[in-house]
C-alpha cells in the first residue's frame, strides 16, 4: 500500500510571505484594539511618571514642592485658591502660585502631598504584588507539578527536630538547640538522598512511608492562610513590627499569595497532562526547566491578569491601613493618610477626602482595565496570522 509514494515530498518553494512584525509590535497592536485597556495603559503610564516625578520633586533639602510646609494661616483652603502672599514668607509660598488641590488642616499643600503619596501607592502595589506573585507561582508550580510526590514520616520528623532545635536555641538552651538543629538537618539530607535507593539501612520501614502528598501540604497551607481574616492579621503584624513602608509591603505580599497559588496549581494540573510536556521530557529537558520555561508561560496569562487586580487591592489595603493610622508614619504623606486626615473635615473641606479617594479609584480602575487588555495581548492565538 505504501510502496508507491502517493506524492513526492514537495519542492522547497518560496511563495509570497505575509509581512512579519516583531512580537512587541504585534502585541501592542492587539492591545490597541481594546480601547479601554489602552486608556488604562495611558493612565497607568501617567501615574507612573507622576509618582517618579513626585519623588524627585518632593524630597531633598529644598524640594520644589514641599509637602511638609505648614502654613497655619492658610488652612483648609479649597482647590484653585490663591495664597495670601502678604502673610507668607517667600519660601512658604506654593510653587505653582495657587493651591491646585487646596490645603489641609495644617495649611499644607495637598497637591504636594498627593505627589509624595503617589510613589508610596505605586511601590506598595508593585512590591506587595511582586512578592505575592513570586511566592504564589513557586508554591503553585511545585504543588501542581510535584503534587503526586509524597512527604514521608522521616521528613516530617526531621523538620520537627530542626524546628524544635531552633526554638530551644532561642529559649537559651544553646547546646541542646544546636544538637537538635544539627540532627534535624542531617536526617533531612539523609531522607532526601535515600529517596531512589532500594534499601535504607538507617531507618525502619514505616518511616519511609508516605504521610501525605506534597500537594496536600501546600494546598492546606493555602486554606489555613485563607481562613485568617488577613486585614486583621496585617494590623497585628504592623502593630508589632516597627512602622515602615517596607514592612507593610512585605506583610501585604505575604498575606495575598494564596489566590495566585491556586491559579497556578490549577493550570499546572491540566498542563502536566499535555503532550508537549511529555515531548519536552522525551527531549531530555530537566524538571526545573519544564516547570519554569515550558509550563509557566502557559499559565502566566491568568496570573498576570489577576495580579493587576492584586495591585489595585494592595493599594486599597495600604490606603485602609493608613486610614486606620497603622500605615506609613505621619510626616510622610500617602493617599490613605491624606484621606484619613481629611475625614474630620469632611463637611468643611470635602476636597480633602474627595481628591485622594478619586485618585485611588482612577488608579485601581486603570489597573483592572489594563489587566483585561493584557489577557488578550498575551494570548498567542489572537495574534495576527
Amino acid at each position: 500500500m505504501m510502496e508507491e509514494p502517493l506524492t513526492e515530498t514537495p519542492e522547497i518553494l518560496d511563495g509570497p510571505q505575509a509581512p512579519k512584525q516583531s512580537r512587541f509590535v504585534e502585541r501592542f497592536q492587539l492591545f490597541n484594539q481594546n480601547r479601554l485597556a489602552l486608556v488604562g495603559l495611558v493612565i497607568f503610564l501617567a501615574f507612573f511618571i507622576t509618582a517618579v516625578a513626585g519623588v524627585v520633586l518632593t524630597s531633598g533639602h529644598d524640594p520644589v514642592f514641599n509637602p511638609a510646609q505648614v502654613r497655619l494661616q492658610e488652612k483648609l483652603l479649597p482647590p484653585f485658591s490663591r495664597p495670601n502672599l502678604e502673610t507668607l514668607k517667600a519660601h512658604e509660598a506654593p510653587t505653582l502660585g495657587i493651591y491646585l488641590l487646596g490645603t489641609d488642616d495644617l495649611g499644607r499643600d495637598v497637591f504636594a502631598r498627593m505627589l509624595q503619596g503617589a510613589w508610596v501607592s505605586l511601590t506598595v502595589g508593585f512590591v506587595a504584588v511582586g512578592i505575592a506573585v513570586i511566592v504564589g507561582i513557586f508554591m503553585g508550580g511545585l504543588a501542581g507539578y510535584y503534587g503526586q510526590g509524597g512527604i514521608c514520616y522521616d521528613q516530617i520528623l526531621s523538620v520537627l527536630l530542626f524546628l524544635s532545635g531552633v526554638i530551644f536555641f532561642l529559649l537559651g538552651w544553646v547546646k541542646l538547640g544546636c544538637g537538635l538543629f544539627g540532627v534535624g538537618i542531617f536526617s533531612f539530607i539523609l531522607s532526601l538522598t535515600a529517596r531512589g535507593a532500594k534499601s535504607n539501612h538507617f531507618m525502619p520501614g514505616w518511616l519511609r512511608k508516605t504521610a501525605f502528598s506534597f500537594d496536600t501540604l501546600i494546598m492546606r497551607m493555602v486554606d489555613i492562610m485563607l481562613c485568617f481574616p488577613s486585614f486583621f492579621l496585617i494590623l497585628t503584624v504592623v502593630a508589632l513590627l516597627p512602622a515602615s513602608i517596607y514592612n507593610i509591603m512585605i506583610v501585604i505580599g505575604l498575606t495575598s499569595w494564596m489566590g495566585t497559588t491556586r491559579f497556578v496549581r490549577a493550570e499546572f494540573l491540566s498542563l502536566r497532562e499535555q503532550d508537549f510536556v511529555s515531548a519536552a521530557k522525551a527531549l531530555g529537558v530537566g524538571n526545573f526547566r519544564i516547570i519554569f520555561r515550558h509550563m509557566m508561560p502557559n499559565a502566566i496569562a491568568p496570573v498576570l491578569v489577576s495580579s493587576t487586580i492584586g495591585i489595585a487591592t494592595a493599594i486599597l489595603t495600604e490606603a485602609g491601613l493608613s486610614f486606620l493610622g497603622f500605615g506609613v508614619p505621619p510626616p510622610y504623606a500617602t493617599w490613605g493618610n491624606i484621606l484619613s486626615d481629611g475625614k474630620r473635615f469632611i463637611f468643611d473641606a470635602p476636597w480633602l477626602t474627595f481628591i485622594p479617594g478619586v485618585a485611588i479609584l482612577i488608579v485601581v480602575l486603570c489597573f483592572n482595565l489594563f489587566g483585561e487588555g493584557l489577557k488578550d495581548a498575551l494570548n498567542p492565538k489572537l495574534r495576527q496570522e
Binding site: M2, P10, S278, G284, H294
Partner: protein, 324 residues
C-alpha cells in the same frame, strides 16, 4: 537471527499500573530487539500496551500509578532501568528520541517553532545563537518545509497538521539520535500527508542510519516501512518475525484476524472480517492465553496455560501451539 548485539533489547518487561483496588497489567512480559539501522514495528489494537512498552524505554512511565515491576531494557549494553534521572535525561533526546501521536498538542503553544527546535539542540549541546539558527533552518529544510527561515518565527497554531509533525520530527532528529520511537506519528494526519511523513521518515533513516521503533495499529503502514514486526495483544507479544514472515505466513489466530480484516481489492463487495469481542481489560485478563475468549481455534489448554513463544522459522516466533 543476527549475531551482533541489538541496539535496544527489552527483556521480559513488566509494567503495571496500580489503581485503588486493582492492578492493571498493561505490559506483562514483553521482549523485543531493535538492531542498528532497522525499522521495527509494534502492532496491536488500542490498549494492548504498545505505547507503554515504548515509553518505558525512555523512562517516561507516569509514576505513580505506573511502575516497572520486572525485566530489563538494555540500550547499547547498559541497563537503562537502573540509571538515575540525570543520566536518563542525557539519553532522552540525545540517543533515543520520540515522535508523539498528536502533533497539535505536542508543541508548546506559546513558543515559536524556532524556539522549540532550538531547545531540542541546546539541551544537549553547547552551541552559539547563530549556529543554532542555522541548524534549525537546515533541519526544517531537510524536513521539506517551504521557506524555513520564516517558519521558524511561526507559532504552532499557524502551521498545518503535516507541518507540525515535520517540526516534531525535526525536533526528534535534532541531536542525531540512534533510535527514534515513533508513536503513531501519522494517525492524526490525513492519508496523503501520512504518505509524505512516512517517506520523510524513511529517507531520514537512510541518510542518518538510525533505528526506528514504529508503533501503529495500521497494518498498511507496517507493510510499507517495517523490517521486522512484533504483534502485541493484551500486554504480550503474540507473534514476531520479519515483514514477509508475518504478512505472508501468519500463524497466530490474532495476527491472521488482523490481516483478514484489512480491506483488499479481491474482497471487494464482501463484508470485512472482524475479530469478535474486545481487548480484555488489563486489570482483569482471562486465565491462560489472553486471546482465547475471542479465538475460533480455542482448545481446552488455552483456557488454563499461557503458552510460550515457539520458534517456527528463522526469527519467526509465535505464541500459539495450536496453530503450529
Amino acid at each position: 537471527m543476527r549475531t551482533e548485539s541489538p541496539l535496544l533489547s527489552t527483556q521480559d518487561l513488566k509494567v503495571y499500573f496500580y489503581g485503588r483496588d486493582k492492578i492493571s497489567r498493561a505490559v506483562d512480559g514483553v521482549s523485543y530487539n531493535i538492531h542498528a539501522g532497522e525499522t521495527v514495528c509494534l502492532v496491536g489494537e488500542s490498549g494492548c500496551g504498545k505505547t507503554v512498552s515504548a515509553l518505558s524505554a525512555l523512562g517516561l512511565i507516569p509514576s505513580p500509578p505506573g511502575k516497572i515491576v520486572g525485566g530489563r531494557i538494555i540500550f547499547k549494553g547498559k541497563d537503562i532501568l537502573a540509571l538515575d534521572d540525570a543520566a536518563m535525561q542525557k539519553i532522552r533526546g540525545k540517543q533515543i528520541s520520540m515522535i508523539f501521536q498528536e502533533p497539535l498538542t505536542s508543541l508548546n503553544p506559546v513558543f515559536t517553532i524556532g524556539d522549540q527546535i532550538g531547545e531540542a539542540i541546546s539541551t544537549h549541546e553547547m552551541i552559539g545563537p547563530d549556529a543554532l539558527d542555522n541548524r534549525c533552518v537546515q533541519l526544517l529544510k531537510d524536513m521539506g518545509m517551504p521557506s524555513p527561515e520564516q517558519r521558524l518565527k511561526d507559532y504552532p497554531h499557524q502551521l498545518s497538521g503535516g507541518q507540525r509533525q515535520r517540526v516534531m520530527i525535526a525536533m526528534a532528529l535534532a541531536c542525531n539520535p540512534d533510535l527514534i520511537i515513533a508513536d503513531e506519528p501519522t494517525t492524526a494526519l490525513d492519508v496523503t500527508v501520512q504518505a509524505q511523513i512516512l517517506n520523510l521518515l524513511k529517507s531520514v533513516q537512510e541518510r542518518a542510519s538510525m533505528s526506528i521503533l514504529y508503533i501503529t495499529h495500521d497494518l498498511g503502514v507496517v507493510s510499507g516501512i517495517a523490517d521486522r514486526v512484533y504483534v502485541m495483544y493484551a500486554g504480550l507479544i503474540v507473534e514476531e518475525g520479519n515483514t514477509r514472515q508475518v504478512f505472508g505466513n501468519a500463524v497466530h489466530p490474532y495476527t491472521r484476524g488482523l490481516l483478514a480484516s484489512l480491506p483488499d481489492r479481491e474482497k471487494r463487495g464482501q463484508r470485512l472480517h472482524n475479530i469478535p469481542g474486545t481487548v480484555p481489560n488489563p486489570a482483569y485478563k482471562p486465565e491462560g492465553c489472553p486471546f482465547h475468549p475471542r479465538c475460533s481455534h480455542v482448545v481446552k489448554e488455552c483456557k488454563s496455560v499461557l503458552p510460550d513463544m515457539i520458534d517456527l522459522d528463522e526469527g519467526h516466533r509465535t505464541r500459539c501451539p495450536v496453530m503450529v
